[in-house]
Symmetry: D2
Subunit: 343 residues, 4 copies
């Protein structure tokens, strides 16, 4: 879909800005996200938390709200100006997608929001203005947990990776890296801001949210996060890692919150802002693509993801993986991984 | 000069891309920049080195070339497209500045270049295309020294900071931070790419290059750089730091090369890509502005800088500081610092 | 065997000092240990390498020598004085063990050596004096790879952990940590120098050398080691980790050399020099004992170890695990782990 | 005084264990030591705090108690056994020093204590047994501030360094490093535990306590301590550093508490347990001896130190530096440093 001439102009997206997680026990979720992981509470009430990292200069990077079923709510993208909100409405209408315009402050801390069911089945929110809370970048005295700085990216599970890639290319996203073979693209990383990604696609049943990725400045923050969880015998929240990704070169760890929502603490990254930024294409046969140090990917990392809500707050049905592949070199090659051995 | 309607459109600058240093002994300079600091040699001959950091995907971040007098040559900015080269010619012509168009490969590794004597007296080069050498981001086996990733910024010494700020605002640069009081702006940081700066201004005699700032991923790379210099009894190359800047929040060290050119190893930084990115204004009275840990700034850091060349390779005369200030709270307040005590 | 009155006095052991590995291809081994891991070559010839870490002030921490079969040679312990060599001869004679006295310089860089087949079946060498090569602690310019500082410990695989513990208690070793349940000691850590261990016992077929542990100062050196191996597509040398041990609290990674010999890069550790140093006893049921972050232990880590040589250079036969245990909570509980799933 | 045959046997000292600081405002001191630096409170009442680092397995590393005048109280050394207490009494009696025997629990958390006015004029306490509080080594969830692990050393200011060195040699301390020239020893580092030092001597007016050194595991903890102080505009507590010492190779920072008592956060260090451990002798002319990176030593670091109390709680008079030196190469050469320039 890059620059489809039949479509009106796409909104000018600045960056991925926030995720929304629906949790079944808000107090437990607060303990995880605030006390353990160390997010800053910008605002909260009995039904929701508005959280941000220490570098974030706008209202939130994460909304955690109570609901009957654990699910992912809207993915929030910042657009350049108010006129991009109207552009978003027209663009998605042309794509045949339902949209809603929400008055300012309907989503706390934000101006008007255009909420959309996107063609991949995800709920997406666009906003052009946000409140600026107190700047905490240099409040080292307050830092806790993983010392998360800001949202880095959304990773979504989709049954058809090339379709997802084409849709985001139509929104002006650049391509930084892929996992592929001659027939198939198994995964792709795309960006608007000048990092490796704002969004990435993992082949699998979808629409589901695979994880929210949050940036931390140094590797020792990843290690500290793990140490804190081990200290409290909560190490079962650590799903995968720490490790080095081949893709993106980031040092990472994946955690699962009490409802099973997955988050990544993500460090390192690199600049992608040049107009001819070269794509890095990983062979699906290179064992370093997912883990540069040859640690196996745990099966749950491929199988589990959060279901997503639609505009009516209903859980979207999940379509199984639609792609086929000749190669069967692990879950990226779309074979079901074997169960883990008992330790 | 923001959006001066009398001027033709400014070129669309993507980022600061490379600096040029003229050195009096190329072999000594190579030892410093390559063997000690650890830059990658993309290309070299008997008169010049083309160096890059490990993350850089284009030909160079630094040109070191032999010459009769130690001086700074051109500061290189990448522009978005070839049409921006013509835009640059027209823009600077309208400003009354001399320009040159250099054929492709005149500057090695680059396409056509427009070279300009800018209104502040600096030699600036614009280019739209560059060769892509081997990707070394994940060649940890090759990393040495400070493990510099890429160029981060130019810091220039100018006699009139507000004039420099207005000129760069006219080129579309955003403002991230300042040091100021009610009467005076003592220093300012401005960006095109989504970091704290591509260019910064230090009040002082100018035009002179204060330093080239290079990004490293983690603080331990800064410490390692210092340790290597100490190991070899070359610690006198360390001019200031390591320390934490108040401005930009970066962890830094400043080194001087064998000709006295200053470079900074710069870590941390933060995202500035939002359209309404809020300016952080430091009071000149806050002792943390220059060093967050209260370490005094060594006098040479305020007094010394590299003279710059013009289009004819002549050294530009230096104009002394033109601003006056009521306050005298250190060199940022434009008082001459006292000499250092003997240890 | 603590203070068995029927025995003559034990030699006063200062610390674990070096390991000996017999390799089938010395050039390949040199590439691994020197070029990749970064050991310093104190001395070498066509049949052996004498290697040390950057902090080591004596001749070697590791001897790598060519031989027909991959095996572990002698474990070297430093004793306090020359008189401890005679004490060692008498002590082991009383234990019914074969001993040899080697003239000075037979083992390069050492004075006289008493070589022993110890009661556990391991070849052990005692020495009281060693050559002091150039001090490289502050030669950061030379550091490479994991920047190993010194030998930290031997980990040996033995069929009867309590027997090994009693033998080393008889040599005056203190006990720092154990993995146990009410019936069984599954593993134990013992020390002479003031660290968590000079020797540790892993229950399994023995006598075999489980691994040599080398100390590095900071966690980022462990990560760097892994990154270097990944860079060169040699990540299969990484067997387990990086991770945090519950036992000892160290941050670690385990590597396998080209012959399959295992080494650990080991950071953190703690002081154990107080006379009443309290033992830390881990329940075999605490999943954090082996990995504080709940990463599973790969099966090879429990099953594989290096066979050891006797005084005649013959490989010692391996006795299978002699202990039984009610619990079956992983390999520490002496059940065979299941095979790993395909990725 | 090494092995003076006219003296009874010296007590067998295991290690430096705790310092005592008398402060004029206990609440302010608590804020500094506990809230900012992050020490663990083992016990406290209205007049004193008993603090320990996260690795410490005994009752305290630091006693902070209220008093009329800021001063250093006793330096605590652990001895091997109860019999060493009687040995200490006899030894110091033979030296003509006043001693006191304190019943168990007089110093909280300790068994019987022998308190001594030592020949250098310092108050010293010896103890052989101590309470073991909860083990917090792996409670990463509790760590704050500099994450101090344990006491590392005492640094004392003495008018006659060779006299201090001889006195501690008589107590069985080994010598690890010195600063010297052909005529003079300007400073020396001595140890009982297997680290670079338990005690060090800085030439200057004495008896005064120069600083208490506390060990932290990694350099980023030093940086974090500074960042926290800067965050709260308390950066004036940072007196010197961060930096790398030539002597000991440690990465350090020096802080001053609200009463001006100096503490060091000290990382790295190396093993000194071999019987023939080689002394590292730094020339007073090597600028790297005090700072490996050529940062100047601030004058207060040479001039200021805490006065010490005697057995009657009176402040000991200070004797000015008794040594003379030909060379005048900075304060180690015993010249008064010049005042610092205004920033």
């Amino acid at each position: 879909m890059p620059a489809d001439s039949a479509l009106p102009p796409a909104p000018d997206i600045v960056r991925s800005a926030y995720g929304t997680l629906v949790v079944t026990d808000l107090a437990e979720a607060r303990h995880f996200w605030v006390d353990l992981v160390g997010f800053v509470v910008t605002e909260e009430d009995s039904s929701a938390l508005y959280l941000r990292g220490y570098d974030e200069l706008t209202h939130h990077n994460l909304i955690v709200r109570a609901g009957p079923v654990a699910a992912a709510g809207a993915l929030g993208f910042r657009v350049r100006s108010d006129s991009d909100l109207a552009r978003a409405e027209a663009y998605y209408a042309a794509l045949g997608c339902r949209t809603q315009r929400l008055p300012a402050a309907t989503v706390r801390g934000l101006g008007e929001v255009v909420r959309v069911e996107d063609p991949l089945g995800f709920l997406v929110e666009f906003f052009a203005s946000a409140a600026h809370p107190e700047r905490l970048q240099q409040r080292y005295d307050l830092r806790r947990g993983a010392e998360v700085a800001r949202l880095d990216h959304f990773n979504i599970s989709v049954p058809d990776v090339p379709k997802a890639q084409a849709y985001y290319a139509g929104l002006g996203f650049g391509l930084s890296e892929t996992i592929e073979d001659e027939q198939t693209v198994y995964a792709a990383w795309m960006y608007r801001k000048q990092t490796v990604h704002d969004v990435a696609f993992t082949g699998g049943g979808g629409p589901r949210l695979h994880h929210l990725g949050f940036f931390a400045h140094e590797a020792h923050s990843v290690l500290r996060m793990c140490d804190i969880l081990g200290s409290l015998s909560l190490e079962s929240h650590i799903e995968r890692g720490p490790g080095r990704h081949g893709v993106s070169n980031a040092f990472y760890v994946y955690l699962r919150d009490p409802d099973g929502h997955r988050m990544e603490v993500y460090t390192s990254d690199y600049y992608t802002g040049d107009p001819d930024h070269p794509v890095l294409r990983w062979s699906v046969h290179d064992p370093r693509r997912r883990d540069f140090w040859a640690n196996p990917v745990v099966p749950s990392w491929y199988s589990d993801a959060s279901v997503v809500l639609d505009l009516d707050e209903a859980v979207r049905p999940v379509t199984e993986l639609a792609q086929t592949a000749e190669v069967t070199v692990g879950a990226d090659g779309f074979t079901a991984p074997s169960p883990a051995p008992p330790e």
